[in-house]
């Protein structure tokens, strides 16, 4: 007789579940799967749980706090400070745990790699003290003292307001929050929130926190000023330009999913997101996805999708009662997806943002490729070959999402390693390193610093 959901016993052939990403989606998925008896490994690049939204295990919500507690008390195997570098075959991940090779075998995989911010290049965006919006929030949570500092926040989306609230709590002055979306879009977004009463609560809380901070819609940054650090920023609203003095500038033009791992595994991606069925299973059998990687929609959607993926990954699909067990989560997911579509349509990027990068503006920060160098090329691949666009340390994670908007070039898949690793790592794991491997320049810089010869490491170095 096959096991039922209520047995709390998973099918024996799906005993090992690997979850990549320990944000809300990944934590919920891991905890759900573990609750049904699966042996769960939860992998995250950060030293602590929570992902970007609950970074450092701090959440304002009861759900978040309870989830941290549950994970801590569970028998989930936690791999923190651990980056997934390769998926050499289905069933195995190769990770770099604090730089050391670590193989993780799984029967089912749940991808909850979340999203990163989209940055748009403009003159001065490479100056020290210009940060990503979520980035400055993360730095503040990591101990950066912003007391009395003037911070201008610009870009798009409700995330800007959350960042603003965090920074203000820590004593920052906020002379301006510059939202690129027009005021009419914000009103329509607010109206769409009627489907999600919990978001009204969030909005009220934010409104209270941000009372007195400068907020303007329909404007965007065009130049950051300073010689070796930021001094001020010029903004534009279509008809006029003005300058605001600031110590920090925090920018974020929406979120883009971290698709490197699903693309490497061959999961189908449509319109920029991983395609999943009702059970959050991707086009690759046994590989599930949850959270922002399947569509930008926030914490509640991530939790619902995480629960569904965790349930599905720890059971055979024909387990009696499985669909009933997930019914409440299905309803919650549908509700959250309405919020997700409002988010996508109301905060779409205005076309003027494509021209804030001047010909001299650096687009690729790793290789210092400028906008004008891209002019003669027709695709990402061609530009990469001729200019080293996206060929540096971040492997196009930053410039890829920018160029997608600036030039309309779609992101192209990566080859492993997904993150730069040491020569020693490559030698020990037999990873030959595709085009995205550590660049020659970095290798020589590295060997110059460490004094190690340039030659490849030998097996003896792995001991």
């Amino acid at each position: 007789m096959s096991a039922t959901v209520r047995d709390g016993a998973s099918a024996p052939n799906v005993a090992r579940v690997a979850v990549v990403g320990a944000g809300p989606a990944g934590m919920q998925a891991a905890w759900t799967a573990a609750g049904f008896g699966a042996r769960v490994t939860l992998i995250d690049a950060n030293p602590s749980l929570g992902g970007e939204i609950w970074r450092g295990e701090r959440s304002e919500s009861r759900t978040g706090t309870r989830l941290f507690e549950r994970i801590r008390k569970s028998n989930i195997r936690l791999l923190s400070s651990c980056q997934v570098v390769d998926a050499p075959r289905l069933g195995t991940l190769l990770c770099a745990a604090n730089g050391e090779p670590e193989w993780v075998d799984y029967d089912r995989l749940i991808i909850a790699t979340g999203a990163r911010e989209r940055f748009l290049p403009f003159p001065g965006w490479t100056l020290p003290n210009v940060y990503g919006a979520g980035g400055l929030q993360a730095m503040a949570r990591g101990g950066l003292d912003l007391k009395g500092k003037r911070v201008v926040i610009c870009g798009t989306g409700p995330l800007l307001l959350k960042v603003a609230a965090t920074l203000r709590e820590r004593g920052a002055e906020l002379p301006l929050i510059a939202e690129q979306a027009p005021f009419a879009s914000l009103l329509r977004f607010a109206w769409a929130l009627r489907h999600l009463p919990s978001k009204y609560g969030d909005a009220l809380w934010l409104g209270k926190k941000l009372l007195g901070a400068g907020f303007r819609s329909g404007c965007y940054p065009v130049r950051a000023h300073g010689l070796d650090r930021l001094l001020s920023v010029t903004l534009r609203n279509g008809t006029q330009e003005w300058n605001v003095r600031c110590d920090y500038l925090a920018c974020g033009f929406g979120l883009v999913p971290n698709l490197e791992l699903p693309l490497l595994l061959g999961c189908r991606v449509d319109a920029g997101f991983v395609v999943a069925d009702d059970w959050q299973e991707t086009s690759v059998s046994g590989v599930y996805c949850a959270g922002e990687v399947a569509g930008i929609g926030g914490v509640e959607k991530a939790l619902a999708e995480g629960a569904i993926a965790g349930l599905a990954a720890s059971h055979a699909r024909d387990t009696p009662g499985l669909r009933d067990h997930a019914a409440a989560w299905f309803r919650e997911r549908a509700r959250c997806r309405r919020f997700a579509s409002a988010l996508a349509s109301r905060f779409s990027l205005r076309p003027e943002l494509r021209s804030i990068a001047t010909p001299e503006t650096i687009v690729c920060r790793c290789e210092d490729v400028r906008m004008e160098q891209l002019a003669t090329h027709a695709s990402w691949r061609e530009a990469k070959r001729h200019t080293r666009l996206g060929a540096g340390h971040c492997q196009g994670r930053v410039c890829g999402a920018a160029v997608e908007i600036l030039k309309g070039w779609p992101l192209e898949s990566l080859s492993p390693p997904l993150f730069p690793v040491s020569e020693r790592f490559l030698a020990c794991t037999g990873l030959c390193g595709g085009e995205a491997a550590v660049s020659e320049q970095n290798l020589s810089k590295q060997s110059a610093r460490t004094g190690h010869p340039m030659g490849r490491a030998t097996a003896a170095d792995c001991e």
């Binding site: 980056q83 101990g143 650090r229 340390h393 930053v398 460490t450």
Partner: protein
């Protein structure tokens, strides 16, 4: 209150706690430029979430660590590239 301990940033001693990231320790040591870019610009930490690689530095002899994703530990030795932009005002 978290316990304070010492780390060294470019041989300058600094007191931090265990929730401080290495990137923040570097900033607290008054260093704004973590590295020089391919064309010689000073670059500081940027994305704060292990994506952009602008905050990379040598930690305990290991080069190119993403310092925004690493927490300080007692006795850590942190070295950045020499940057012409000098030090942040204290």
């Amino acid at each position: 209150m978290l316990e304070l301990f010492e780390v060294r940033v470019n041989s300058k001693a600094l007191l931090v706690d265990a929730q401080t990231t290495v990137a923040v320790a570097i900033l607290r040591a008054g260093i704004l430029g973590f590295r020089r870019s391919a064309s010689g610009e000073c670059r500081g930490a940027f994305c704060g979430m292990g994506i952009c690689a602008e905050c990379r530095a040598t930690v305990d002899g290991i080069p190119d660590r993403y310092t925004c994703q690493q927490l300080c530990q007692p006795g850590m030795v942190i070295e950045t590239e020499k940057c012409p932009c000098g030090e942040a005002p204290q």
